[in-house]
Symmetry: C2
Subunit: 309 residues, 2 copies
């Protein structure tokens, strides 16, 4: 076995549905993520040969990495196959892109091992098949930042158009995962089909402000723009303690705070590590008092996406 | 009379409601606009002493520049007054910010003559009173680019938050004004109060792409993002020939094309002057064939806003 036949990789956790960027804006984290080993083998097809850290199916067609890999193979003229070892650290269902990390990691490494026949946008499409298995919908909002790193905007699905957005150097994320189950399908179901035009205008005004703030490293503008008048008021009902976590995070100096993905994780952005740690302490206090177990992650915003380790 | 008691200024025309940036994104033009002369006088109050080019009221409280000026005076401790001469070149009701040019010009010049006691955001608020007189609604989407220059995003009205966005160097606008009347109040009335969440997501995805494209001078991304699924399909019904103008503009090489303000003017953006002129010829052909008179403007995107001449 040499370096050209297997790759060990880091697959970042991601925050999608960033406040006003519902369904379009995501970001990758630097120090939270899975590890995977992808091995090029002669035997056709994809096999999950190892899976630790989470209780997830290892049958190829029931595993998001397997399904994403099969989508890539179907578009490739490669005659062999791949073995996948998954070392999960991101909890499934936590709302920080556990399935996207697996499916993105798989197709990124396979593309590397095959000599990069596919573009990044094509890889996003393959990985989206993993998302379809996980949630019933082929979303790109976790997959895109997991692959590109930094912030990514999914401008359009048809055709798929991913726009990388820069990450300000001192931007840190705090994510708290209360140990309750919120199914993606439930949190989709409670969304309303219609919104008011007035709320829509506020939302695209804030999204424009957020993108401008990311380009200009204007932390105050980023903070002012991290507002969601549409989805957060509805979905936050499913997350006990949300309002309290948000208010203590803002009091602790966060730039903004919202639901990560479809929850139940809650993210906050801060300027600098110290503020992010301060926010983490404030968030923990809330769930300690309520009596709900939690995980907390404090991470710089990542700028590289999935990468070799 | 010396330089400190009167100012002659250029007040740019502006395009508001730029496609996906409905109600939030506007841009100033470099070579289309009014001229004004503002004179500081001892006599209290505001007087419109001259008005050429358009048939508009000269009574202070019925003139947008007068009303905007009164709003500034009301917040100032200045004991004297101002005289205003208006040399209108932008037709009222054309959809390229005729009233905003007048009200913005007035308050900008007054602020200069008083030694800049007010911030730009405060000036926007005063000028918005002129917009309230003109259309019944105190909008900032023409006033902000007329004052700041370039593209501006009105991220929020409460509190008022204007975000300047850079203008790519080779971005040119073509604007055609068919000589038909579309009242702002009518074109507001036909808008729907509700939109689908799905359309909203497309809109803020495109707005994010447009802002990113303006920052990165990515003309292709700007073009791909100049899409409006919400307002254009409804309002364009009021503008005869709109669909044809749009299709010939795109065929002629425009990056994107949409309704300027609440119409009836139609704008297109192009990369470079030559393309913008080519688009102008294609647009003219449409209205010549239909038999509707028109004005056409071809202008670089302006980056300075209202300024001394």
């Amino acid at each position: 076995m040499n370096a050209t036949t297997e790759l060990k990789i880091f697959c970042p956790a991601t925050i999608a549905n960033i406040s006003c960027g519902f369904d379009v804006l995501g970001v990758a984290l630097e120090s939270v993520g899975d590890e995977m080993l992808i091995r090029k083998v002669e035997q056709k097809g994809i096999r999950i040969t190892k899976l630790t850290g989470q209780n997830l199916p290892t049958e190829t067609h029931l595993n998001v990495a397997g399904v994403a890999g099969l989508a890539l193979l179907a578009d490739s003229n490669y005659e062999g196959g791949f073995e996948i070892e998954m070392y999960k650290k991101i909890k499934a269902g936590s709302g920080i892109g556990s399935s996207a990390a697996s499916s993105t990691g798989a197709v990124w490494a396979m593309n590397e091992l095959l000599g990069r026949p596919f573009s990044k946008t094509e890889l996003v499409k393959f990985a989206m098949e993993g998302e379809r298995l996980a949630s019933g919908v082929a979303h790109a909002d976790n997959v895109a930042p997991a692959l590109f790193g930094g912030f990514t905007l999914v401008r359009s699905y048809d055709p798929l158009d991913i726009v990388p957005i820069p990450s300000p150097k001192q931007l840190w994320a705090t994510v708290i995962h209360p140990q309750i189950e919120v199914r993606t399908s439930d949190s989709r179901k409670i969304l309303k089909t219609n919104i008011t035009l007035a709320d829509g205008i506020k939302q695209w005004g804030n999204l424009g402000g957020l993108v401008a703030g990311l380009f200009t490293e204007d932390y105050s503008l980023i903070g002012r723009s991290l507002v969601d008048h549409i989805v957060e008021p509805i979905r936050s009902i499913l997350i006990p303690g949300f309002d309290k976590v948000k208010s203590v995070s803002m009091d602790a100096g966060a730039l903004g705070c919202g639901i990560s993905g479809s929850g139940p994780s809650i993210f906050a952005f801060s300027k600098g590590e110290e503020n992010a740690l301060h926010v983490a302490r404030a968030m923990k206090d809330v769930y300690r008092k309520i009596g709900i177990d939690y995980d907390v992650h404090v991470s710089k915003v990542n700028s590289t996406g999935v990468h070799k380790i």
